[in-house]
C-alpha cells in the first residue's frame, strides 16, 4: 500500500495501482486516450505524461504505465509534462478533421476536451491530411475512420476483451486502419460499446445519429430491463423520445459495458404503434371512463362469483412498484393470487432456484470474473444474459476453466469445455458431478448421515453417456480455489438448481470462495418471487378460466401469447371471459383482445425499482414526462400550433397507479423498501442485494435422478430458449435489432438430422402457420443428440411450430 503525493496531496493506494488511477482517487483526471480501466495500460498515446519530481522515478513519464510507489511526488502540472501533452495532442490532431460541428461525437468527445484543455486551440499544420474510406459496420455503429487517433482501444476491446475477431487494426504507419476486412455487420453482440470507448468520433451510435448533442439530452441513470442481469444504463432522451442507452459503470454488475440487446432496446417506447389511449371494447375512451368502467365491471363480477372470479396476471418486466401493488390488490380484495408468468415450467425452476439462494451463497456478475473455474449447467449466456458471457471471457483470460453442461451447443466468446447432455439428464449430470466431487476426495468431510445419503445417491444415480467425464470435472472442482456455479432457469428442470446448490455447498468446504449465479427468465423475476409469490402457476388459472370459475382477468404488462405455448387454447380461454382488462405500453396479441385497455408508462416515464437476478435492488429514474415526440407530431417541422392543456399522447400512467386505483386508490408511488423488508424480514437499500430466507440444503431426491426417463436415448425433445435478439418482448420491437435477428431456424445434431431426413440449410415450411413460418435447419454436433433447438421468437406462430414438432416427436 504505497503512499505517494500527487499535486501536493497524499494518497495511499493498493500495490500495483497505476499513477493515473491513483490520481483519480484524488479527483484528478490525468488526460488519457489509450488507457481505459477495463482495458488496462498500453502506453500508446503519450497524452498522460506527468512530471515525477521525487522518489524512485524522475522526469516526465506516462502515468498509465508507472506503478504508484512509496514516496513518489508527482506533478500533473509539471511544465515539461504540460508541454509534452500539448505537442502530443497537436500531433494527434495533424490528421484529424477540423469539423467537430458536423461530428456526432462533438459535445461528449474526449479528444475535443483534451485538445481544448491541452491548449491546442489553433491548428498550425496546413498540409494535406491522410484520409480513409469508412465502412458500413451494420445498423448499430457508424464508422468515420478519419477521426482516429490510434489509441487502439477499439481493437483491444473488440478482440481481447470481448473475444470477437472481425474488427481490428490493419495497415502500418499513417495507413493504420481500424475496421473490418470487408464492410459488413459487426459480429459481436457487444459492438455498441465501441461508441462508448472510442475517445473520438470514429464509432458513433448509428440509430441516434445527429439527433442531439450531449447537452441537448435529458439524461438519467436507469436499469436495463432486457434480461435479468439488470445492467446499469444512462438513458438519453430528447423531444420526448428515449434514443440512446449508454453503459453506466457498476462495479458489481456490468462493469463498464453493456450488450447490444440492452443498448438498442428502447425503440418500443416511442414506436408509432405504441398504444397511448384508453380503449373500451376497442374504441377510444378517456382514462377516467375506462378506469371507472373497469372498477364497476370488476365489482359487478365479484358480486356474482365472489373474489375468486377475478384473476390477476403480472409480469417479470414490471417494476417492483407494480408487482407489489398487484400483491396488495390480492391481499386486500381477496382476488386470486397474482401470477407473474405464463411459462409454468420456468416458474417452477425459478422457485426452486431462488429457494436455493441465500445471503451467503449468491455472487455478483463481476465476481465471476475472479473465479478460477466456472461451471455452467443449462445456461446459455449469450442468449439468456449476454453480459455474463463477457464476465466468463474475463475469467477465462485470467486462466479460469469454463465448463458448460447443456443440451444446446452453447457458444461463448472464450475457450470452454462443452459437455452435451440431454435436457432430461441435466439433474443426473449434476449428480455425477457431486459423486465426482465426493468420491476419491479427501477434501470434503461428510458426517455419518451424509455418508449414508451419499451412498444411496451413488447407487441410484443412473448412468449417462458423459458420466465419466462429469465425475472427473466434479473431482477437479474440489481442487479449485474459486469455483463459481451458474445454473440456467429455463432449460433445466426444477431439480437442477438445488442440486447445484448442494454441489456448491459441498465444494465450498474445500475452497476459498465460491458461489451461485442463476440467470432468470425476466428482468424482475426476482421481484415477482419476493413480492408476488412467484409460485402461482398459470395452468390452474387458465383451467379456472376455461371452467368458468374465473370470469374476469386483469393482465398487467404481459403479452401472454409470447409466454404461453398453446396460443389457440389461450385465445379460446380469453374469449370465454366476461371481462379482460389489459394494461400495457406495447401493442400485442392480447392488447387487441382487451375489453378494457389502459395504456401504461414505460420505464423512461415511470422509473421504478427492479431486483436483478442476484436480488440486487436497483432504481431507474424517470427520464421524460411522456407524450408523443414532437419529432413525430411535427413530422420533422414545427409541431402543430394547437392549444391544449395536456401533452398529446401523454395519457399513459404508471401501471401501479391503475392497480392502486383498484385497491386503495393511492396516487403516490408505493415505497417498495418496506414492502420488501416485510416480505424478506430484512432491511434493504438501493444497489444492495436483498437476502432471501436462508435456503435448505436438501440432498437430491433420488427417485428423480435414478429413475428419470430411461428410454430417452431414442426420443426427441424440443427446446425453445432465449436468443440474443428476437426473444425479449420489449427489445423485439427494435427495428435495428430486428436487422440482426437471424432467420428462424432449428439446430440439431447431425445424427438427429439424419434420422429426420434433414440436411443443413433445408427449409421446412410449418404447415398451417399464421403468419407463415419457415424454419431453416442448422447442424451442430455440439448439441445433444435428440434435441431440436429453436430460439424463442416473439410474434411467431408457436402453436403451429409445436404442433409440427410434436408430430415429429411422435413418429
Amino acid at each position: 500500500m504505497p503512499t505517494l503525493t500527487i499535486d501536493n496531496r497524499p494518497v495511499t493506494v493498493p500495490d500495483g495501482t497505476k499513477v493515473i488511477t491513483a490520481a483519480e482517487q484524488l479527483g484528478i483526471m490525468i488526460p488519457r486516450f489509450c488507457y481505459h480501466p477495463a482495458l488496462g495500460s498500453v502506453g500508446a498515446c503519450r497524452v498522460c505524461a506527468v512530471g515525477f519530481k521525487e522518489g524512485p522515478i524522475k522526469g516526465v513519464e506516462m502515468s498509465c504505465m508507472v506503478d504508484a510507489q512509496e514516496g513518489m511526488v508527482v506533478a500533473t502540472d509539471d511544465p515539461d509534462a504540460v508541454d509534452l501533452r500539448k505537442h502530443v495532442i497537436e500531433l494527434l490532431m495533424l490528421h484529424h478533421p477540423h469539423d467537430c460541428p458536423v461530428c456526432d461525437e462533438g459535445g461528449h468527445c474526449l479528444l475535443q476536451d483534451m485538445t481544448i484543455s491541452g491548449g491546442h486551440g489553433r491548428r498550425r499544420y496546413a498540409g494535406a491530411k491522410r484520409t480513409h474510406l469508412d465502412q458500413d459496420l451494420g445498423p448499430l455503429v457508424q464508422h468515420e475512420m478519419n477521426r482516429c487517433i490510434q489509441c487502439y482501444r477499439c481493437s483491444r476491446f473488440y478482440q481481447q476483451f470481448c473475444g470477437y475477431r472481425d474488427l481490428g487494426v490493419t495497415g502500418i504507419g499513417t495507413r493504420v486502419y481500424f475496421g473490418r476486412s470487408e464492410p459488413g455487420t459487426l459480429e459481436s453482440p457487444f459492438s455498441g460499446n465501441l461508441t462508448d470507448i472510442c475517445p473520438t468520433g470514429v464509432y458513433t451510435d448509428k440509430p441516434s445519429r445527429f439527433y442531439g448533442r450531449r447537452w441537448d439530452y435529458e439524461r438519467a441513470p436507469s436499469v436495463c430491463i432486457h434480461c435479468s442481469l439488470g445492467c446499469s444504463l444512462t438513458v438519453s432522451a430528447r423531444y420526448r423520445k428515449a434514443v440512446r442507452h449508454e453503459a453506466r459503470f457498476n462495479a458489481q454488475v456490468n462493469g463498464h459495458f453493456i450488450c447490444d440487446r440492452g443498448r438498442y432496446a428502447y425503440a418500443y417506447a416511442s414506436q408509432p404503434e405504441r398504444p397511448r389511449d384508453a380503449l373500451i371494447a376497442g374504441r377510444p375512451a378517456t382514462l377516467a371512463q375506462a378506469a371507472t368502467q373497469m372498477s364497476e365491471r370488476l365489482a359487478a363480477i365479484e358480486k356474482g362469483t365472489g373474489p375468486d372470479g377475478i384473476a390477476l396476471m403480472g409480469s417479470a418486466r414490471s417494476s417492483l412498484e407494480t408487482q407489489a401493488l398487484l400483491a396488495r390488490l390480492h391481499s386486500e380484495k381477496g382476488w386470486r393470487t397474482p401470477c407473474f408468468s405464463a411459462d409454468d415450467a420456468a416458474t417452477r425452476v425459478v422457485s426452486s432456484a431462488l429457494n436455493t439462494l441465500n445471503a451467503t451463497n449468491t455472487i455478483a456478475l463481476t465476481e465471476i470474473e475472479g473465479a478460477d473455474t466456472v461451471l455452467l449447467v443449462g445456461a446459455d449466456p449469450i442468449g439468456e444474459a449476454p453480459m455474463l458471457a463477457l464476465a466468463l471471457r474475463q475469467a477465462q483470460r485470467d486462466g479460469s476453466r469454463i465448463i458448460t453442461v447443456d443440451p444446446r451447443p452453447v457458444t461463448l466468446p472464450c475457450a470452454h469445455d462443452h459437455i452435451a447432455v440431454s435436457g432430461d439428464d441435466l439433474a443426473t449430470a449434476v449428480a455425477h458431478l457431486i459423486i465426482g466431487a465426493l468420491e476419491p476426495s479427501r477434501e470434503i468431510a461428510l458426517d455419518a448421515d451424509q455418508q449414508d445419503r451419499f451412498k444411496t445417491l451413488k447407487q441410484e444415480t443412473r448412468d449417462i453417456p458423459a458420466a465419466a467425464e462429469l465425475r472427473a470435472i466434479g473431482h477437479a472442482l474440489t481442487t479449485a480455489w474459486r469455483p463459481a456455479f451458474v445454473c440456467g432457469t429455463t432449460v433445466p428442470d426444477p431439480d437442477v438448481p438445488p442440486l447445484m446448490g448442494l454441489l456448491q455447498a459441498l465444494v465450498q468446504t474445500s475452497c476459498m470462495w465460491s458461489g451461485l449465479f442463476f440467470p432468470l427468465p425476466g428482468a424482475n423475476t426476482f421481484g415477482a418471487h419476493c413480492l408476488g409469490g412467484s409460485d402461482a402457476l398459470f395452468e390452474p388459472l387458465l383451467a379456472a378460466v376455461e371452467a368458468g370459475q374465473v370470469k374476469a382477468l386483469v393482465v398487467v404488462e404481459n403479452d401472454l401469447f409470447s409466454e404461453y405455448p398453446d396460443q389457440q387454447r389461450l385465445a379460446a380461454a380469453l374469449e370465454s371471459l366476461e371481462l379482460l382488462v389489459v394494461m400495457d405500453c406495447v401493442p400485442s396479441a392480447i392488447t387487441a383482445r382487451a375489453d378494457i385497455f389502459l395504456p401504461t408508462q414505460t420505464i423512461y416515464e415511470a422509473g421504478g425499482h427492479y431486483l436483478n437476478n442476484e436480488g440486487r435492488l436497483q432504481v431507474a429514474t424517470p427520464v421524460i414526462a411522456g407524450g408523443l415526440s414532437i419529432m413525430d407530431t411535427g413530422g420533422g417541422n414545427h409541431p402543430p400550433r394547437e392549444f391544449r392543456e395536456d401533452i398529446p399522447g401523454g395519457t399513459p400512467r404508471p401501471a401501479w397507479q391503475y392497480v392502486a386505483g383498484l385497491a386503495t386508490g393511492e396516487t403516490d408511488p408505493p415505497d417498495v423498501k418496506p414492502l420488501l423488508d416485510e416480505a424478506l424480514t430484512a432491511g434493504v437499500a438501493d444497489g444492495e442485494r436483498v437476502s432471501l430466507p436462508s435456503a435448505s440444503r436438501e440432498w437430491p431426491s433420488i427417485e428423480r435422478i435414478g429413475a428419470g426417463p430411461e428410454g430417452d436415448a431414442g426420443g426427441l425433445t424440443l427446446i425453445e430458449s432465449a436468443a440474443t435478439f428476437g426473444s425479449e418482448p420489449l427489445a423485439a420491437f427494435s427495428t435495428v435489432l430486428a436487422e440482426l435477428t437471424p432467420l428462424f431456424g432449428v439446430t440439431v445434431h447431425s445424427e438427429t438430422a439424419q434420422r429426420l431426413g434433414w440436411r443443413a440449410g433445408d427449409r421446412i415450411v410449418i404447415p398451417d402457420s399464421a403468419p407463415a413460418l419457415e424454419v431453416v435447419v442448422t447442424l451442430d454436433d455440439r448439441a445433444a443428440p435428440g434435441v431440436l433447438l429453436v430460439p424463442r421468437r416473439i410474434g411467431i406462430d408457436r402453436t403451429a411450430l409445436r404442433r409440427y414438432m410434436a408430430h415429429l416427436l411422435a413418429e
Binding site: A128, R130, T131, R165, D166, T170, I172, R175, Y177, S181
Partner: protein, 183 residues
Amino acid sequence: MLRPRGAFFERTIEPLELHVSEALIEKLKNEIAAVEHPRELAVDVMMALQDHHGYLSDAARDQAAELLGMSALEVDELATFYTFIFREPVGRYVIHVCDSLICWMAGEENIVDHLRQQLQIDFGQTTADGLFTLLPVCCIGYCDRAPAILVNRRVHGPLTNSRLDELLQKYRAEAAEKPGSNV
C-alpha cells in the same frame, strides 16, 4: 511528403487466380500441425500463397485464415503490416526502393526520379504492361551498397542511372523471353 492511401492501392491489373496445388496445401497443413500455435506460421503461409498467386488475393487470405484457424481480419492485420506481402495485384517485378538515411544520402531521390521517369509510374503503381511495381521500403540492410533497391526481393546496388537502365532492360528482355512466368 505524405502519400495518400489511394496511391498505394490503385488497382491496375486484374488478378489471375491460380489453383493452389494439393501438395502445397498438404505441406502447409503439416507445417502448421507441427507448431504449438498455428499463428506462428501466419507469415510463412501468407508468403507461400503469395508466391503462388503473385499477391495475397482475398481468396488467398481466406485460405490462409482457414489453414491457420484465424479470422480473415486477423490475417489481414498481419498481411497489411508487412511491406513484402501484397494485398493488391503487383507487377511481375516489384521494385522496392530503399528510402532510409544512408541511401538517401547516397542519392535515393535521383534513383526514384529516374525510375518514375523511365517507368512512367509513381510509388504504389504498376506499369501498364504489368511488368513493374514501384514501392518504397525502409532500410534493407545493404547500406554498404547504397543507394540500393530490391527487385523481387533481390538486392541491387550501388546504383546509378545507367546501372538502373541496364537492370530494367534485363528484366524486360527476360519477360519477353519467358512471358507469363512469374519471379
